[in-house]
Each structure stands twice: as structure tokens, then as C-alpha cells.
């Protein structure tokens, strides 16, 4: 590789690092190139760009669970306590070092009564400080180290309520019935979608409950602008009970003009590309 190629490769690796992450081999290669061209580009720029893109797609900020918040606060207390003791350790070492380098101008040898006197005075000081800490500073400090989380619980509207709101507020609704592919006269509910909002809901009536340990349902959206071989992943879901279920669509890519919706049965967690071996519901959009 000549210099131009090496610089190009460095930029390439920085991009991949920010977008996909690097494997060990790539990481070593990046380290080596960065040593060769230390000032070519500011590495954090790429990570910042990726972070800004990630942030731009955050539509719903979900409240952090209270239990998790408590854990993070506890971690923080430990972290800062460790930092403090490290600082203390550094300070002690520095003190000891400075003591060592201070010329021993007066080297005194204490007699036993002198030593005892100083020991008693020291013990009294420690007791005094401990008492003061426990009664005056300690409790407040502990309170400030482990603050009580103050997260107000939020009442989330049900999917049925969200669906109602969605139906009432969407002007460009695409709406079609779910049918059983084996018997098109068999209706299984309906699917609604808004291109403008890029949101939609599936309503199922009679789609059997699945065993989430063994399989999952997955929605696929066939878009006019997308190759039929690669429909848009509309999200993985489970049906816990037979009967009616309302499930929000979680489209992974922008959908412009859906022409068909399909639900397949896949392994738990879903798949990236479906083999379409088991299609359980189809929703064809009328032209």
C-alpha cells in the first residue's frame, strides 16, 4: 500500500469503527495506521457523526426502569468512592515521598512515656473525628452519595387507545383485512398503515397464540419501491392468548407505498430474511 492508499484505508477503518465496530484484526490495523498518520483526522468526529445519526432516530425516549436507575446510582457511589480512595492513595504516596525527600534535619528518638502520650492523643483525635463524622457529616454525606431516585411512573396508554388515536389522526390510512393464505375467505383481522406517519397497527382476531420459546411471528411489508425479494422487516411479535391482539408495526426502513403485508412464523427473535416457509396471514392492499 502506498501512502495515499494507507490514508484512505485509515479513513475507511474509522468509518467502519463508528458504524459497525471493528474485529481484532481491523483494530490492530487501525492502531498501526494511526501511529503512522497520527494527525490525519480526528477520530472522534466519526463516532460523533454516528452518535448524532443514532440520536436523530430516537422517537420515543423510554423512562429508565427504577430498579436499573438504582443500580446505576449504586455503581456511581462505588465508582466515586474508589476514585476518592485512589486520590487519597496518591496523596498518601506523595506525602510519603515528600517525607522521604525532606532532609532529616532533626531525627528525634522518643522515650516510652513520650510515645505513649502521643499515642493517647492520637487515639483521642481519631475518636473525636469519628464522633463528629457520625453525628454531623456522615449521614448527610451518605444521603448525597446514594440519592433516592425520583422517577415519576408514567401511565402508558394501551395499544387499543393508541390505535384509536392513530385512526382518528391519520389522513392517509392504508387499511386492509388479514386473510388466511390457505383460505382467503377466512378473515383474521386487519392492518392499518400511514405513510405519512410511518406508523401502523396490526389487529388480529383468531391468530393462534405462539410458544415464544420455540417460535415468533414476524411482519413483512412489501413496498412498491422495494424489491419483492427483500420486503421491509415490520417487527417480531408474540401472541400470548387466542383472541384479539393489537400490535404496533415496527418498520425497520421507510415504507413508501405498501402493496402487501405478510406475517410469517420464524424462530424466536425473528430473522433478517425470511424463507417464507410458513405464512400465516396476508393483507393485500387494493390498488
Amino acid at each position: 500500500m502506498n501512502e495515499v492508499e494507507m490514508k484512505d484505508r485509515l479513513l475507511e477503518l474509522l468509518t467502519y469503527k463508528a458504524v459497525f465496530g471493528l474485529d481484532e484484526e481491523e483494530r490492530l490495523e487501525l492502531d498501526s495506521l494511526q501511529r503512522t498518520f497520527p494527525n490525519l483526522v480526528e477520530e472522534s468526529k466519526f463516532d460523533e457523526t454516528a452518535a448524532a445519526i443514532a440520536l436523530s432516530a430516537v422517537s420515543d425516549v423510554e423512562e429508565m426502569p427504577l430498579a436499573l436507575k438504582s443500580k446505576v446510582i449504586k455503581d456511581a457511589s462505588k465508582f466515586f468512592a474508589a476514585e476518592e480512595s485512589d486520590e487519597q492513595l496518591t496523596f498518601d504516596k506523595t506525602s510519603r515521598l515528600s517525607q522521604n525527600i525532606t532532609p532529616a534535619v532533626e531525627k528525634t528518638h522518643w522515650s516510652m512515656p513520650q510515645w505513649l502520650g502521643w499515642a493517647l492523643a492520637g487515639a483521642a483525635c481519631i475518636a473525636l473525628v469519628a464522633n463528629f463524622w457520625l453525628t454531623q457529616i456522615g449521614p448527610n454525606e451518605i444521603a448525597s452519595v446514594t440519592p433516592t431516585p425520583t422517577v415519576t411512573p408514567v401511565t402508558e396508554p394501551s395499544n387499543a387507545e393508541k390505535l384509536q388515536k392513530f385512526l382518528a389522526s391519520s389522513k392517509d390510512l392504508v387499511r386492509t383485512a388479514w386473510t388466511d393464505p390457505k383460505d382467503e375467505s377466512q378473515k383474521l383481522g386487519e392492518v392499518v398503515w400511514s405513510d405519512e406517519k410511518q406508523q401502523g397497527y396490526m389487529v388480529f382476531k383468531g391468530l393462534p397464540a405462539n410458544d415464544a420459546q420455540k417460535e415468533a411471528y414476524q411482519l413483512w411489508i412489501f413496498d412498491e419501491t422495494q424489491d419483492e425479494k427483500t420486503p421491509v422487516d415490520g417487527g417480531v411479535f408474540n401472541i400470548r392468548e387466542d383472541g384479539e391482539a393489537i400490535i404496533p408495526i415496527d418498520a425497520k426502513l421507510k415504507v413508501k407505498h405498501p402493496k402487501m403485508f405478510a406475517v410469517t412464523v420464524e424462530k424466536p427473535g425473528g430473522v433478517v430474511v425470511s424463507k417464507r416457509e410458513k405464512i400465516v396471514a396476508l393483507g393485500k392492499v387494493q390498488a
Binding site: 463516532d47 429508565m64 446505576v72 401511565t155 415496527d250
Partner: protein, 219 residues
């Protein structure tokens, strides 16, 4: 002034932000201006800032983690690790380079990518009971975002659809390049090319915007 959630309806947020940002006169005010200095307080050892930091960014980090790591336990572990990194790196935050929100999101992403690479990623899964019982972003709740995010949204909207899709699937959804190759039905090399060109274009746009606003401020 905070940005309303309605302006960020994923995944078309890029289009929607364009109109919102124009309406709101981009760059005049974001919640970053309200929240800045939390990291400075943390780096100076003020432990009360921990709670403020979690109130301000906890939900955001949790949302990013859940999006990329569908396993809830995994996401929780990641959030704990991310905040330790935040405490550790708070003193490296430079407000002249980015906002606190972007800085924290950057730390979060690094940690999440590390985790993703160690595990076999499953596509984002939403079980029915999670959808019904877990508190997700309620309608109208304000989204904490940064000025860079708004600029990135505009820049994303300017990209070619293939580049935008690759960046969306990788950065937002946490897909690997081989998964994207499968999903989009394009060769691996093309995925990488789109990722690289797309990211560079967004980066250039962010820098150009940043320089422009710098000039406007000084003018």
C-alpha cells in the same frame, strides 16, 4: 425549548425534522443549553450531578440500548457499563466539539457496538406483553436530543436512499454489514461503500453547518 416527540416519528423522522427545524429556526435553542454543565459537575466530583445526569440522559441511553440490544438483561447490563464510562470520561467532554447529549450517545454507542459484536444479534423483538405493560414513550413526551442530531436528520434526508438505509439499519438498528447485505440484497462491499460515503456526507454536512453557525454567531 424542547423538541416534541411528534417531530421525530421514526423512521421518517428525517423528513419530519426538516420541516420542524425550518419552522423552529434551527439552532436557536435546544435542551442542551438547559442541560449543559452536568458532565462538568460530575468531573469536578459533585455526586449530586449523578441524579441530574440520569434524569437528563438516563431515558435516552436506555432507549438506545433497548433499540440495539433487544435482550432486556443485556440492555440493562450495557446501561450500567455505559454510565460507568460516562463518569470515567466526564472530564474529557469538550463543549466546543459537541453537546453533552452527543458525547454521551457516543460513549453509549461504543459500548453497545462492543456488546453487539460479542453476541449473536437477534433482530429487535417486541413481545406483546412488553408492548402493553412496559412504559414506553408516552405521546407528547419530550425527546432529549442535540443540535447535532437535528442537523444529522437533515443531512440523512439528503442522502441517497441506499446510503440512508444502510446507515439506518447499522447505526439505529444495530445490524452487521453481512445482515444488511442480506436484508437489502446487495453485495457486502456495496454495503460498506454506502456506509462510508453516507457517513462522510453526514459528517461533512455537520461540519459545514457548524462552521456556518460559528460565523453567524461571530458576525
Amino acid at each position: 425549548m424542547l423538541f416534541k416527540q411528534s417531530a421525530f416519528q421514526h423512521p421518517t423522522c428525517w423528513f419530519k425534522i426538516v420541516t420542524s427545524v425550518k419552522d423552529k429556526n434551527l439552532g436557536i435553542a435546544t435542551n442542551d443549553f438547559v442541560a449543559e454543565k452536568i458532565l462538568e459537575r460530575i468531573s469536578s466530583g459533585e455526586q449530586a450531578a449523578v441524579n441530574d445526569c440520569l434524569d437528563q440522559y438516563g431515558g435516552l441511553v436506555w432507549s438506545l440500548a433497548k433499540r440495539m440490544l433487544p435482550d432486556k438483561n443485556d440492555a440493562e447490563d450495557a446501561v450500567q457499563e455505559i454510565f460507568i464510562e460516562v463518569w470515567r470520561n466526564a472530564n474529557r467532554f469538550d463543549e466546543t466539539k459537541s453537546s453533552e447529549t452527543t458525547f454521551i450517545a457516543m460513549i453509549a454507542r461504543r459500548r453497545l457496538i462492543d456488546r453487539l459484536r460479542k453476541t449473536t444479534r437477534q433482530p429487535n423483538q417486541s413481545s406483546l406483553d412488553e408492548m402493553i405493560f412496559e412504559p414506553t414513550g408516552a405521546d407528547g413526551r419530550e425527546v432529549h436530543t442535540s443540535i447535532e442530531a437535528k442537523r444529522a436528520a437533515i443531512a440523512m434526508n439528503e442522502l441517497r436512499p441506499e446510503q440512508r438505509n444502510v446507515l439506518q439499519l447499522s447505526i439505529v438498528e444495530g445490524y452487521s454489514h453481512s445482515e444488511i447485505s442480506e436484508v437489502m440484497g446487495i453485495p457486502l462491499g456495496t454495503v460498506k461503500t454506502h456506509a462510508r460515503r453516507g457517513l462522510m456526507e453526514v459528517r461533512n454536512a455537520l461540519e459545514a453547518d457548524s462552521n456556518r453557525s460559528g460565523k453567524e454567531v461571530s458576525a
